[in-house]
Amino acid sequence: MSGDGPVRYWLEGTELLETPEPAQEAEPWSETRVVGQRLRRVDAYERVSGTARYPSDIVLPGMLYGAILRCPHPHARVLSVDTTAAEAMPGVRAVVSGFTDLDRAMRPHQRLIRENLFVELCRHEGETVAAVAADTPYRARDALRAIRVDYEELPFISDERDALESGAPLVHEAGNRVSDPRVYERGDLARGFEEADIVLEEEYRTECELHTPLEPHGCVANWEGDRLTIWESTQGVYPVRQDAARALGISQSKVRVVGEYMGGGFGSKLGAGKYTIIAALLARSTARPVKLFLTREETFLTEGNRPPANMHVRAGVKSDGTLTAVEFVATATGGAYPAGGTSALDYLIRDLYLCPNVRAETADLYINAGPARPMRAPGHPQCAWALEQMMDTLAEAIDMDPLEFRLKNVPAVSQAGGRPYTTTGLRDCLSEGAEAFGWTEARARAERGTGDPYVRRGVGMAGAMWAAGGGGPPATVIIKLFSDGGVSLNMGASDIGTGTKTVMAMVAAEELWIDPGDIEIEHADTATTHFASASGGSKTVPTESPAVRAAALLVKGQIIDMAARQLGVEPGTLQLREGRVVSESGEQPEVAISELTELRRRGFVEGIGFRGPNPAGKAVNPFAAQFCEVEVDLRTGEVEILRFLGAHDSGRVLNRMTYDNQVFGGITMGIGFGSTEKRVLDRGQTGRLLSRGWHDYRIPTALDVPADMSTVAIDPGDTEANTTGTKGIGEPATIPTAPAIANAVYHATGVRVTDTPITPAAVVEALARRPRGA
């Protein structure tokens, strides 16, 4: 379990189960037939026909609709809650609050945030105060409006940059620091700066980013006697089951969680929400199914975010391009509770580039805002924004090409943990990506100008790695092959849209010589599968696919043994080919699977595959470099992104089409992080959320991304990491995007935008500050 280094956020709060170590691990594939192809998804039909049933699509007979009353103040004490009028309203079936009799509702709802379900001391806008269930969602909202709450408003703080000022209001009595600042050090920083020919420093800031999956957070809860079924929009049905059972004080065996389809999570749906528990309570008290999906603004307030970060970087370099020292001092906030405001914020500083002298100090602060949740590569895009801009700045200072400067500082060993990487494709990502992009020519072309004095072109790039992405145990996958040739694959993990089901079917199909589309998949249902951790951390493919391969090999072995007995030959001479067991030489008799008498008697064979441990003493990490070309309008500040290329080392590519899709998706989210997105709180005034919808919280549209996107797959197949040679792609794909844009904008204009997002306003402001004639 050493493979994923310091970052394993997707397991936080989850009780991890142990699985047996496989007795024997398979050899790496030498060549593949199915794996690596561009194949249509096994569930494409469901997803384009409207028959994929998402949790929010569930409609049950007699179903009620739940809704939650939330604190409108950033910091307030609830003095009383009067639900009398709401209870008397037509169609209202249940009203619950911290002041009603449902005392079970007071149980702490999470391991990490030990607050009651309904909060008396509200530390951020959106804390839960009461909830209702009614016949229609409209009537549920009517009832919320009829609940009277007395609040004592308290002083609040809504920006971490104000949190340590003397006299600042306190979010928690002990102060606004979550803990003492965390310090990482190696080498001798002072000496490193002395050795440098050039030392530069700069302040960078990244704004708070919201996950905003298209399907809001929520669930449908239904009791049958003392058994609870929850259809939840989640990245992991097992963590939801653990959370729900714990909060409700019942056995996990009494809770079934189903989440076959879900409309996006990006780290914000790793466990049960308060809404899950509230829906279950409302359903129990009304003896009716309850559907409780949050409104869009509720999800903005309470269902997580990527913390804003303020980063000071000081770095020293020799004129030959050797990095001698990097210092990183950062503050960030996970909101009103300990929620990982500085999680992995300094990881790239520690590990991405070769540097003997490093110091990183990160301080996590409280403010009166909704708690953070892990968001697609926690900490990394923030750190990349700072580090990758500083790399370009250093390169310019020593008159070196930014690509060449990075190539000079590629480490062979993980400096953060002092362990070698199983594979590092950073150098290949940089050089092969640059070649495919046409880096040198594009830079030169951009510098020749566009012919329009007010439109400048620029080309930029950035490198990246992801602290995790190697996966690891536990994983349990069951494959059955039936006597009629049918195959089923059973796994607990969710397919959150990345194509998990498809690539697992491809791995099984590779070993069993069948069409992946013919494999029936059961997954993401605690009633029918074995434990899986939530799909997050870019670990689902490297975690599950070796278990799939192990299960398939166990099935194959049994089939070959049966055939060997039936044919009276040695099993070692036989192979599985397109539904038949044949000899390697082709000279011996062969038999169709459907003609195996032993299989026909038994009906099926079953293989239970487990995930073996990662190699001891090694670091397993994905690497990346991204390149982009932009045009900047000097009069309006508009930045048009013309093209993007992602070069990624994520080990073996199982399906090139879904791989491309992941990279393009990561780039698109990175474009949002770098160019358009910013959660805005009413700092210094009401402290409330101002960007309450997608009009004011701008995620990229089809017109904000280039149609010209491409990938370069650095595909060595990480044969040491695991038996499928895979590493994760989901998170690394979004890490270098924003600084690549910032570097391209600098190349175009000569001005650096050091705060996200690079809006027209930001560019216009930066250009106005530029000395005339520059």
């Binding site: 998804r41 494409a44 409207g50 409609v59 849209g497 998706g665 698109t668 997608w694």
Partner: protein
């Protein structure tokens, strides 16, 4: 449009009313009749009191669906929660995401910003209506082939926006394609594949002779 005063201050009325509505929703599907009528003109003038349920007939995917609705109910709510047509999704409830896109008289619109009462007298097409029995329509086929989705939640809306675009403009340019789906957010970021899918859908439709 006829008006029935089914609401009251009595809390219990909600039960029977709701029970009736649920069975109506299920019944509506089986009672739906194919009809040759091309969108009956709305009767007028009409008035519905606040909170009252009114019986309306919605023409969806070529069939008539009777439904009981309150004035404030959106077309999206009626489609998803009352009629069991759940392909159109709710992402925001206020026209900011496009997940609820349906065709109204052939043009893409947001079902969350359309009162159910306003849809009466129009012809509504949802993703379900693009299916030919169990077979995918050409736009759906193109989205499947180009992997133009990830989580798939925005996909019904993306496909309906594409369908509307191609009905109006069977051979869109790259810019027209991008504009055509610019009213539909995809947080998974699959736009690059969506552009290819729209292009492919245009090809498949013209190969079919103008498409469905």
């Amino acid at each position: 449009m006829s008006t029935s005063n089914a609401d009251g201050s009595d809390g219990n009325r909600g039960v029977s009313r709701r029970g009736f509505l649920s069975s109506m929703g299920v019944g509506a599907v089986s009672m739906a009749l194919p009809t040759e009528l091309a969108g009956t003109p709305p009767p007028s003038p009409e008035m519905v009191e606040a909170g009252d349920l009114t019986q309306i007939a919605l023409r969806i995917n070529g069939r008539e669906y009777p439904a009981l609705v309150e004035p404030r109910w959106s077309l999206l709510h009626v489609l998803r929660e009352e009629l069991g047509l759940t392909a159109a999704k709710e992402g925001c409830g206020r026209g900011e995401c496009g997940s609820c896109t349906v065709l109204i008289d052939g043009a893409p619109r947001y079902a969350c910003l359309t009162l159910a009462l306003e849809a009466e007298g129009t012809s509504v097409t949802t993703l379900e209506g693009l299916m030919k029995g169990e077979e995918l329509g050409p736009t759906q086929q193109a989205f499947a082939e180009e992997d133009a989705f990830q989580c798939g939640y925005c996909t019904p809306g993306q496909i309906m926006a594409t369908e509307g675009l191609l009905l109006q403009n069977p051979h869109p340019s790259q810019d027209e394609i991008r504009t055509g789906v610019s009213g539909n957010l995809c947080r998974c970021g699959t736009y690059a594949h969506i552009f290819k899918a729209v292009d492919r859908a245009a090809g498949l439709r013209s190969a079919e002779g103008g498409g469905s």
